[in-house]
């Protein structure tokens, strides 16, 4: 719930997700202008710009905050640029929030945008035997779906997940994304169609693995005082943000690593890294997972969404399949997950994705998610994890 440590989200905007190969800056400016218009704030009133970086678009991508500031027209605003792989968007949000809570900024703009190549993500070019991300492709042929496949197969063996369960997650998210104007894939699919799609990383099939997309998202954040002066009596607030790293030993194999940490000298803690992520955001927000109305989680694969149910506390470990089969996580259920359609319907535009999760939650909490609205939404949580140990979770309420 909103407290002195909350900031307000007074504007949200997106450029639709798709695959056009245009300059990422163009997408980012569309999203930024949409968020500013939604907030009713002039660009020149923004005193802090936080950019989420993209590493596949040259120098402008590494200094995204300044890139967007220049594209919107230099205004003298202070700036930051953040990179944390898939968690970059939340690092940018956390950067803006810290400035606001420290009293150094009143109203900030956060932007992330990407243009992605076709097919599997691959490491940036050149021979780099010191880079585990390069080595895992060269030595193991381990793509991102390899790791998704390992987690999925583990769920099958340990928790009795079936291929129909995994397919059902895709069917659900496709139905959710159907009426979302920003989603790239807006087509219903059946379990049969999912199960007929080609196997990519056993037991995961093509329709169960998220695509790579172009897209952009932006939010306008401000102090609670600024929101009030701006005439917004009951704003959506960000009450907790988690950017946690793992604790040693990280005993679950993770991209892009060859091995886990050793747990010979120190026993693994009670929580896995993935389950520590949202936990930290809940703690900061003073929210119990049972109070959550909806969640936007990083469904890089259909099976991974089931892992997140447990990791964000919607159910106990081993009960995700049951929760899915009960219909609780579908629109109309007790706690809809990925009402936006998720990565399943969007594809991944890395630096934009965590910001898009927050934008979606903002619209949900305002009751403006036409066609995919969670009725009576009061509390929303996002969860995501970036390569090389980046947690990302945001708790919002209204």
């Amino acid at each position: 719930m909103a407290s002195k440590r909350s900031v307000a989200v007074i504007g949200a905007g997106m450029h639709p997700w798709g695959k056009w190969g245009r300059n990422f800056v163009e997408y980012g400016v569309v999203a930024a202008r949409a968020a500013l218009a939604d907030a009713g704030v002039a660009w020149t009133d923004i005193d802090f710009v936080a950019g989420a970086d993209t590493i596949r678009n040259g120098y402008p991508g590494f200094i995204a905050g300044a890139t967007f500031a220049q594209a919107l027209g230099w205004s003298g605003a202070r700036v930051s640029s953040s990179y944390a792989a898939c968690a970059s968007g939340v690092q940018a949000i956390a950067s803006a929030r810290a400035q606001i809570l420290a009293g150094l900024s009143e109203v900030a703009l956060v932007v992330g945008a990407d243009t992605t190549p076709k097919g599997f993500f691959k490491p940036v070019g050149g021979d780099r035997p010191d880079d585990p991300d390069w080595l895992r492709f060269h030595v193991l042929g381990a793509t991102n779906p390899t790791y998704f496949g390992l987690y999925a197969q583990r769920r099958v063996a340990i928790h009795g997940a079936t291929e129909e369960d995994f397919a059902q997650v895709k069917v659900k998210n496709a139905a959710h994304g159907l009426n979302n104007p920003y989603a790239r894939y807006r087509k219903e699919v059946t379990i049969e169609e999912v199960l007929a799609s080609p196997m990519v990383a056993d037991p995961l099939r093509l329709l169960e693995i998220c695509a790579t997309s172009d897209g952009a998202a932006a939010v306008v954040l401000c102090s609670l005082d600024y929101a009030k002066r701006h005439g917004i009596a009951n704003p959506v607030t960000i009450d907790g943000i988690s950017t946690v790293t793992p604790t040693f030993p990280n005993a679950v194999i993770e991209m892009p690593n060859f091995a886990t940490d050793s747990s010979v000298a120190v026993a693994p803690g009670e929580r896995t890294f993935r389950s520590s992520i949202a936990h930290a955001a809940y703690e900061e927000a003073g929210i119990d997972p049972k109070d959550v109305s909806l969640a936007e989680v990083y469904d890089l694969s259909s099976a991974l969404e089931l892992d997140w149910y447990e990791d964000i506390g919607l159910c106990e470990v081993g009960e995700a399949e049951h929760l899915l089969r009960s219909g609780a996580t579908a629109l109309g259920g007790r706690v809809p997950v990925n009402p936006s359609g998720g990565l399943s319907s969007f594809g991944e535009a890395i630096p934009a994705q965590a910001i898009a999760q927050v934008a979606e939650c903002t619209w949900q909490l305002r009751g403006e998610a036409t066609g995919h609205q969670v009725e009576g939404a009061k509390v929303a949580v996002t969860a995501n994890q970036g390569l090389f140990g980046h947690g990302s979770s945001v708790v919002l309420s209204r």
């Binding site: 390069w134 492709f137 056993d202 940490d261 000298a265």
Partner: protein, 141 residues
Amino acid sequence: MAGVPVVEGFFDPSVPALLGTRCTECATVFFPAERSWCRNPRCESTTFDEVELSREGTVWSFTDAQYQPPPPYVPADPYVPFAIVAVELAAEGIVVLGQAADGVTVADLAVGGRVKLITETLYSDDDGDKLVWRWRPIKEA
């Protein structure tokens, strides 16, 4: 086996064994080898013993690559899908990845099954064979 390891310092193809290090203070094992600072946050050691990791382990999970991975993977021509295994090594307390042996598919693998380390050729180029470690299921007697 003729040829050179595809990556320096990760394994000894003649044993064969994965090569790691063990902290002399806290006994944490590192693979790939760590030789500068112990990564146990409560250990300040800078000295390590070179160790060979266990050559047998238990399957933590497995999957396969039905689609050809992008470069820098060097695929067979024509491409042949391969399985990948995450193997739990009890003595070291780690889970380590590796491709499954040539010809092993997901149908041959099970979570909890035993596997052993072998050396195979990952690819060959003008300089000769590039060797890699792989995991082969141990057949029940």
